[in-house]
């Protein structure tokens, strides 16, 4: 289906180049991989072995002048230079000997001087680290190279304690914080060769959330838990494109145990934005990402919704097709799920997911403890989470990739088999229409068109008789002529069906009309109706005269409008507001008027108009 589930030919070379450009690997990393770990690539197919590899480029071009010059151009290239770590005495273009020489002699005139002056004037570790970080940063490439800090000249001079060599996560946090302050922002960070363990990385994402490339080569990361500190699964480093874990136990052990494929799979799931792992490209779908430098637009300040809650929206398709489908579908779904075999395309996909949280508004409204809904407390999530391959809530599937596959049901027979195993349901599709809400419009499907149909509503769970809310999304296509679906009277057939099951929330959530962002103050509530231009009533005599800019809140009334309003469901409150607005009745009388008219706004307003002349003045705001 995806045309290229394995990395494209040559991708290793590209990846290698990308890493080199980012300064993440040095030239002999692939070579070491070949020589040190002959069995380390069992996960890769044999086919790939004839593809161009990064190493070939090095073989053909021994003098990587571009790379070297870019390294050399970071003027303070001292012991921190990555090349110096491995190539003990490789020549730079400048003809200067690397590390051994550098360590024993001066780095360059100005650096030495700077160091001396620092030593004279500064003592705090944070100041020392600030100099180390600054020295190790190449602003042109956005590359901060913190490799092998223990060997750093400044670290030694200031007597700093690097993380991994006595320093803990707080010491690391100091360094990351300083790194986060660098300008321009750090794109690439190498923490290679620092003896680091997972907890050292605890604060990395906090200070460098937009980091794109990270090398943790040759550290002591051992477990998946160690990686949780930087995993997108935990909301960390969401923009990470490249990661190097070569030379860490977690990777090396996987490959030694011939689990390289699983390692890659797990890594891919734990780092969802990753494009290159350990110098190999990961097959992926990409999106147009916001760039970190994107110009900040005005901070959102609106305190009202720009649009109202709308009613069900169906376009581009005959409404009867949708309603016929839904009525039949839910009827059969509730009564004889095996008969749905024809409603699903032979290749259809289905899964269900449980969102087990209790919605804040539902809790405030007491929907789970209400005496009016006595069965809610009998509901149990277990059958929804564990039966039929299990809930496919992908935020929760952490136990490996297998469950992700097992909980996706492919093909009509498998779909129906799964449906049968799930708890029984009763959708009251012919009951009050406001309990369901649907949106449907045409979408592209390959070269043709399909229909996206989303349904929100509630059902009664058979057995417990408790109520649950649900959201269901379908992709529908016309049933092909002569297909079983068509023969059996289905005009449309389901290609994809995703069902989210939730704790019960009231259908008032999608009641058409204006919505509030924040609760209204008493004052706002009283004046919610921008008072009509004409005839603002004079305040009651008991109150001092007020300028007429604002109707007086009903403080004087024993009736607590605020309490009354806040204790009623949102939908009712909206009705009260509407009546207040249209009649200028105060909250108390608006409630009375609505209650006497079956909570129908039109009837209430009509009734009001009949009796308006007879109402006491204090009936109004």
């Amino acid at each position: 289906m995806f045309s290229s589930p394995t990395p494209a030919p040559g991708s290793r070379a590209i990846a290698g180049a990308a890493l080199r450009n980012a300064g993440l690997i040095d030239r002999d990393a692939p070579m070491r991989d070949l020589t040190d770990k002959p069995g380390g690539r069992k996960g890769s197919s044999k086919i790939r072995s004839h593809r161009p590899r990064a190493i070939d480029a090095f073989k053909d071009a021994p003098s990587q002048t571009r790379m070297l010059s870019s390294r050399a151009s970071s003027s303070h290239a001292g012991p921190s230079d990555p090349l110096s770590i491995r190539g003990a005495s490789r020549l730079t273009p400048a003809g200067r000997l690397r590390r051994p020489a550098i360590l024993s002699t001066s780095v360059s005139g100005d650096t030495t001087m700077r160091v001396t002056s620092i030593r004279a004037s500064r003592t705090k570790p944070v100041e020392g680290w600030r100099d180390v970080v600054k020295k190790r940063y190449n602003p042109e490439t956005g590359f901060l190279n913190l490799e092998s800090l223990i060997d750093d000249e400044l670290v030694k001079k200031f007597g700093l304690v690097p993380p991994g060599h006595g320093g803990d996560s707080r010491d690391a946090a100091v360094i990351f914080k300083l790194a986060g302050q660098l300008v321009p922002k750090v794109q690439t960070l190498s923490l290679a060769k620092n003896n680091l363990q997972g907890p050292h990385l605890q604060h990395l994402s906090h200070y460098l959330p937009h980091l794109a490339n990270l090398s943790l080569q040759d550290n002591r990361l051992r477990t998946w838990r160690d990686l949780d500190f930087i995993s997108s699964r935990r909301g960390k480093l969401l923009h990470l494109r490249e990661l190097v874990l070569l030379g860490n136990p977690i990777r090396e052990q996987s490959f030694r145990e011939d689990n390289g494929q699983r390692y890659k799979q797990e890594m891919a799931q734990r780092f969802s934005s990753l494009e290159v792992l350990d110098q190999e490209a990961i097959t992926q779908i990409s999106f147009d990402l916001p760039v970190p430098s994107s110009t900040p637009s005005a901070k959102p300040t609106a305190m009202t919704f720009p649009y109202e809650m709308g009613s069900s929206f169906v376009t581009g398709v005959d409404g009867s097709i949708v309603s016929n489908f839904l009525i039949r579908f839910f009827n059969v779904f509730d009564n004889q799920r095996t008969a749905l075999i024809d409603a699903y395309d032979p290749n259809a996909t289905f899964s269900f997911s449980a969102n087990t949280s209790i919605a804040t508004r539902a809790r405030i409204q007491g929907l789970h403890t209400s005496a009016a809904l006595p069965n809610q407390t009998k509901l149990n999530w277990k059958p929804w989470i564990s039966s039929a391959g299990g809930s496919r809530n992908l935020t929760r599937i952490s136990g490996g990739f297998d469950r992700t596959v097992k909980s996706l049901h492919i093909g009509a027979p498998d779909v129906v088999k799964t449906l049968v195993e799930l708890p029984g349901t009763k959708h009251d599709i012919s009951g009050p229409p406001e309990k369901f809400c649907l949106d449907s419009f045409p979408v592209m499907h390959g070269q043709g068109m399909g229909l996206l149909l989303t349904v929100h509503g509630q059902f009664t769970e058979v057995g417990t008789e408790g109520i649950r809310s649900f959201d269901r999304s379908f992709i529908l296509i016309p049933a092909p002529e002569g297909s079983r679906a068509k023969v059996n009277g289905w005009d449309v057939v389901i290609l994809s069906d995703q069902w989210t099951i939730r704790n019960y929330s009231s259908h008032e959530a999608w009641k058409p009309g204006p919505m509030l962002v924040q609760a209204l103050s008493r004052q706002q509530q009283a004046s919610q109706a921008p008072a009509p231009a004409i005839a603002i009533p004079t305040p009651p005599p008991s109150q001092p005269q007020q300028p007429q800019q604002q109707p007086q809140p009903q403080q004087a009334q024993p009736f607590d409008a605020q309490a009354a309003l806040s204790s009623m469901p949102e939908a009712q409150r909206n009705l009260v507001m509407q009546v207040c607005q249209r009649t200028r009745l105060n909250v108390r009388f608006a409630i009375e008027c609505l209650a006497g008219n079956a909570w129908d706004v039109e009837r209430a307003v009509a009734n009001f108009e009949q009796v308006e002349a007879t109402l006491p003045r204090d009936a109004f705001v």
Binding site: M1, F2, S3, A8, R12, A15, A18, Q265, Q269, S272, S273, E275, T283, Q284, I285, S286, F287, D288, P290, T295, S297, A298, K299, P300, T301, A302, F305, P306, M309, F313, N347, S351, S353, A359, R361, N393, L394, L408, I410, D439, V443, M444, H445, T454, D471, S473, I475, P480, S496, Q498, T500, A509, W510, L516, Q518, S521, R522, Q524, S566, E570
Partner: protein
């Protein structure tokens, strides 16, 4: 009598979904939902969020339709600030498309404005206004034929071709 040879190739060949497809799709949905809502909740949303869409994208926000990149801009321009919390998401590769379209459904909470903290001090604790809402959002993600893959391992660049959102609790 001549034997009737049945057609060997089905009229509409359907490429079956492999576990590798599922893996890639799951990952893409994970990545997408994270960056989408992070972007939505950021101060730069007006510049950044429309980038996930194309001029031919269709979307509905609580039943109100919008069209394309401009529509997205129009929708979010005067939207109060948001804080989304994804509590559940799911993703299917859609059969019969190659590379497959992805349907992603998301269920979660969204807080608007300043949330409960922004309510007037006299607000009753039983007043649900200002509290998080439950949202349900369905995306159809499709490959952009005009944006060829540029990065190693990249199959295609996807965009939001359809997006339907409702407040549901």
């Amino acid at each position: 009598m001549t034997a009737v040879v049945p057609p060997v190739v089905p009229i509409v060949p359907i490429v079956p979904i492999t576990s590798s497809d599922v893996e890639i799709a799951t990952r893409a949905a994970d990545h997408f939902t994270r960056i989408y809502y992070t972007t939505y909740d950021s101060d730069t949303r007006l510049n950044d969020l429309p980038q996930f869409y194309r001029p031919n994208s269709s979307l509905t926000w609580n039943g109100k339709p919008f069209q394309g990149v401009e529509g997205v801009r129009q929708l979010i321009e005067k939207m109060p600030s948001t804080k989304h919390e994804v509590l559940s998401f799911d993703c299917h590769p859609i059969p019969g498309t190659s590379p497959p379209s992805l349907m992603v459904t998301v269920s979660g909470n969204v807080t608007h404005g300043r949330g409960p903290a922004g309510n007037p001090p006299t607000t009753s604790s039983r007043n649900p206004e200002g509290q998080p809402r439950v949202f349900s959002q369905t995306f159809l993600l499709v490959p952009d034929p005009a944006a060829p893959a540029t990065k190693p391992g990249e199959l295609a660049k996807y965009y939001v071709s359809a997006d339907a959102l409702r407040f549901v609790g």
